[in-house]
Symmetry: C2
Subunit: 111 residues, 2 copies
């Protein structure tokens, strides 16, 4: 019933379309900043700022490689996301079936 994970940060980070594009890009494999920026219609500093937000949210991690920094998607964060979705789904389903059962009970009583 409660969802007080750090989902707040995750969802806030994924609310931005550019950051979602970055995440989806990284889902295809780790990548340095420049390569990410090359696929996006925004400047490289903008990507850097987005990566900071994603990093703070725990969605990505960086590994220095010379002057480059290789960013990687963090599986744990995706797992948390899925868990939140699943929780929503199960609660909604339970509420729905509970209501259905309630209606059924009323109808039985009427009958």
């Amino acid at each position: 019933m409660t969802y007080q994970s750090d989902i707040s940060g995750l969802m806030a980070a994924l609310g931005d379309p550019t950051r979602r594009a970055i995440v989806e890009h990284l889902a295809g494999g780790a990548s340095p900043v420049g390569e990410i920026a090359a696929t996006l219609p925004v400047s490289r500093p903008a990507v850097s700022q987005h990566l900071k937000v994603l990093s703070d949210a725990g969605l990505v991690t960086a590994k220095p490689d010379g002057t480059r920094r290789i960013y990687t998607l963090r599986p744990d964060a995706i797992a948390d996301l899925r868990a939140w979705c699943d929780g929503l789904w199960e609660d909604a389903l339970q509420a729905f079936t509970a209501k259905a059962l309630h209606v059924a009970t009323i109808e039985k009583d009427v009958k």
Copy 2:
């Protein structure tokens, strides 16, 4: 590899903490506007505005009941969310194992 669903609207809507609270409330069962607003630290008009966003995103639907409007979570939207998460997960997993296989191949060649 592509995620061109209407996930954009969904994620944007869920990026706001107040809207997430509304969604989580509705996961417990359908509810009129006033009841939702009573559980939140914001005014009722604010909730109305959030519900409009959620409705536009396809996350909720409203059913008039006298002067009240009963809002309900839309299962399809949650399913889309879960599908997006699962897609991310699978792509990331595939990219990871592909890299692992690549490394293994290299090591085999070396050997």
